[in-house]
Symmetry: C2
Subunit: 412 residues, 2 copies
Amino acid sequence: MTFSWSERFAERTIHMSSSAIRELLKITERPDFISFAGGLPAPEVFPVAEVAEAAGRILRERGAQALQYGATEGYRPLREWVAARMTGEGLPITTENVLITTGSQQALDLVGKILVDPGSQVLVESPTYLAALQAWNAYGAEYAQAPADGDGMRIVGLERLLRAGPRFVYCLPNFQNPGGVTLTRERRERLVALAEKHGVPVVEDDPYRELRFDGEHLPRLIQLDAARRDEAPYAGNIIYTTTFSKILSPGLRVGWVIAAREAIAKLTQAKQGTDLHTPTFNQMIAYELASTGFLERHAKIIVQAYRERRDVMLAALATEFPASVTWTHPQGGMFLWVTLPNGMDAADLLRDAIEQKVAFVPGAPFHTDGSGANTLRLNFSNASTEMISEGIQRLGVALRARLARQEEAVPA
Amino acid sequence: MTFSWSERFAERTIHMSSSAIRELLKITERPDFISFAGGLPAPEVFPVAEVAEAAGRILRERGAQALQYGATEGYRPLREWVAARMTGEGLPITTENVLITTGSQQALDLVGKILVDPGSQVLVESPTYLAALQAWNAYGAEYAQAPADGDGMRIVGLERLLRAGPRFVYCLPNFQNPGGVTLTRERRERLVALAEKHGVPVVEDDPYRELRFDGEHLPRLIQLDAARRDEAPYAGNIIYTTTFSKILSPGLRVGWVIAAREAIAKLTQAKQGTDLHTPTFNQMIAYELASTGFLERHAKIIVQAYRERRDVMLAALATEFPASVTWTHPQGGMFLWVTLPNGMDAADLLRDAIEQKVAFVPGAPFHTDGSGANTLRLNFSNASTEMISEGIQRLGVALRARLARQEEAVPA
C-alpha cells in the first residue's frame, strides 16, 4: 500500500500550516536585516549572571531534586510565592488556584484542551494574538471577533456576541499583542460584569503587565471579578495566565495560570498527558530569582530600555512615515500597530521592505475574518535604538515608494 | 447566571480524571513507605556535578542564547547530533527528520494532536503505557488492544486488527512500561512489514533502550523499516520517540522524535501552538553532555545500579511470593509485571499493602477494556536494594494473608 502522511493527518490539522509569510520572514533572520517582525526580548537585559548564580546554588544544594520528576501542578514553593503575592494584591487564592506551565503558550494550549470541542466558538479581540489561534485551531475552535480600538476591546456590541454562547472570551488587556493597546479600567469593569452575567469564562492573557512604561497599573480582570464576588479562595470564571518570559527569560519556559480550583484541577489533568510537568530545574531558578525580590528590581531595567526604544520608534515614525499612515502609542509591552491607507496591502509592502532589508509582520493573520490587510505589527523590544531609527527610515522609503506607485495607478 | 466550571468542560474531558487509586497512592509518598508505585529514576545516579559544570559553561559562554526564545524544531546542534548518531546506526536521516520535544510525553501529545480525530481508533498493546492513553483521550481517541505475552506484542491476530483501520499502532518495544517485556527481533520484522502492508503508522516509544542489563540491543522498528525501504533520508511510516529522562535527568524534560520530514513538519506546527519550543537552556545542557560522549559512559553506571536492583527484586519475589503468582523477568528498564491468581483483585491487595506500608500500581488502568484486575506493576529503579528486599517481604505478607482469606471463602 502506498503510504502518504498527508492523507493521515487529523481533520483539524488542515488549519495548521506554515504560512507563506512565515517562510518569507526566514530570510530576514540574516544579520544584515533589521527585523521588527519577531517578538523577542532584548538579550542585553537578560540577568545571565544571576541565573548562573541561582543555577549553581540549586544544583549544589538540591541537585537530585532539580533533576528529578516533579508534580504536574508545579514546584510547590513557586506556587506558594504566586499565591502569597496575589493574595497580597487583593486576589485571595491558595496554591490550589495555581498551576505552573511550560510558558504561557502552554496555558493557552491547555485551555483549548479542556474547553474547546470541535466547532466551539471562541470570542477573540480583533486583532488578536496569532499563537492563541494556532493553539485553539488544533482543537477545532471557530471564532467570533470583538473589535478593538485604542482603548482595547470595545464593549458596544459585546453583549450580543456573548449571547451567541462562546465557550470563552480571550482578552489580552495590557499592551496587547499585536495592537499595543490597553483595556481601560471602565471597560475592564464592564467586561467582567457582562461575562459574569452571561456565565462565560474569560481567559485573561497578561504576559506584558510588568512592562509598563507610563501611568499606573490597572487592576487585572481576575482581581475585579474577585472583588465583585467577595469569596475566598477565588472561584470565579476568569482564567488568568502570565509568564516569566518577559522579565526573566523566555528560554526557560516558565509561566503560570490562576483560576478557580475546579478549573485548575482540570487543567492539571490535561497537563499531565501533555508534558507531565514543567522542568523542575527551571521552576527552581525562577523561584530563586522571584522570591528574593530580584526580578522586581530587574524589571525596572527592562522597562527603562524598552521605554527608550518605544520612544525612538515613535519619533522615527513621526518623521519618516507619510501622514496617511497611523499607529498606536503603547504605554508598555513590546509592540505597536500600524494602519496603512485603505487599499494598501501590508503583504505587498513586506516584499518591498525586504528589498530594503527591513521586516515586520503583516496584520491580516491576526484577524480571524480575513480583514486587516492594510495593517502591520512592529516590535520595538529587540533592536537597538540605532537600528530602530535606521529600520524605520528604510521602511519609510519602501512605504512612500509604494504610495507613489499606488497614486499613479489610480485613473485620473 | 450561576456559573459552573463542570458544565463548561469540553466533552472529551470526561475521560480525564484523577483516579481513586491515584489519590490512594498519595499517602504512599510518606517517608515510612516503601513505594514500587512510581516510575522514578534513582536520584543517586543523576550526574549533578556534570550538569552543573555544563550549565555554568553555557551561561558564561552563550548565556543570552540559552535564555532567549529558540526555534520550535529545537536547538540545531542537538538535532544534528541526533541525525549523525542515527545515520551512524544505519538510519539515514537529516536534521529535518528530528524534532526536540519537552520530554517524550510531549511527543505522545503531539502525535495525538496531528493524528487523532474524535472517535479515531488507536491500536495499543495490552497492557500499555497509561500516560499515552491520557495523552490521546484528550483528542477523543478510542482503542483496540493487541495482546502481549513475554515476547511483547503478539503478531497472531494483528493483521485482523490492522484491517480495522486504526489511525496508528502504539508500541513500546524495549522493556515495556508496564509489562517489562521486550519485543523479539522476529516480531519486530513482522510488525514493520504488516504496518507497511496496511499503510498504518507505528508510534515507536523507546525511552528505556539504553537501560539494557542483559543481551544485545535489538534493532529499532524504524531501523528495520528504513532497511526495507532503502531510501534516504527516511520517509516511512514509523514515528520514533525517546528521551534523555532515563540516562541524564527527567527533570530537564528533553526528548526527541524521529520521523519522515512530512510528519516532523506537521508535528512542529502542532508544537508551536503547544509550548513554542522546548527550553533552550535545557537543550544546550543535554547537547553538551551527549555530544562529548559523557552520557554513553554514564549510562553504564545506571545500568549497573538498576541491574542489581532488578536482581534483588527477582530474588525476593522468588522467596516471598506464593507459587500461584507469576511475574516477568525484564532484560532492562525500570518495571516488572506481576500476575496474581485469577479472581484476586490487585486494587484490594493494594489496600492491604498500604497497611504494611508498601505500595505498587494495580494493573487494570493499563488496559483499555477493563481487564487486568489481577495484575500489578512494580518499579525497581527507585528504591535501594535494602528497601526492595524489605518491601517485597511486606508485600509477600499481604499477599499470603489475602490468599489465605480467599481460600477460606471458597465453599468446600
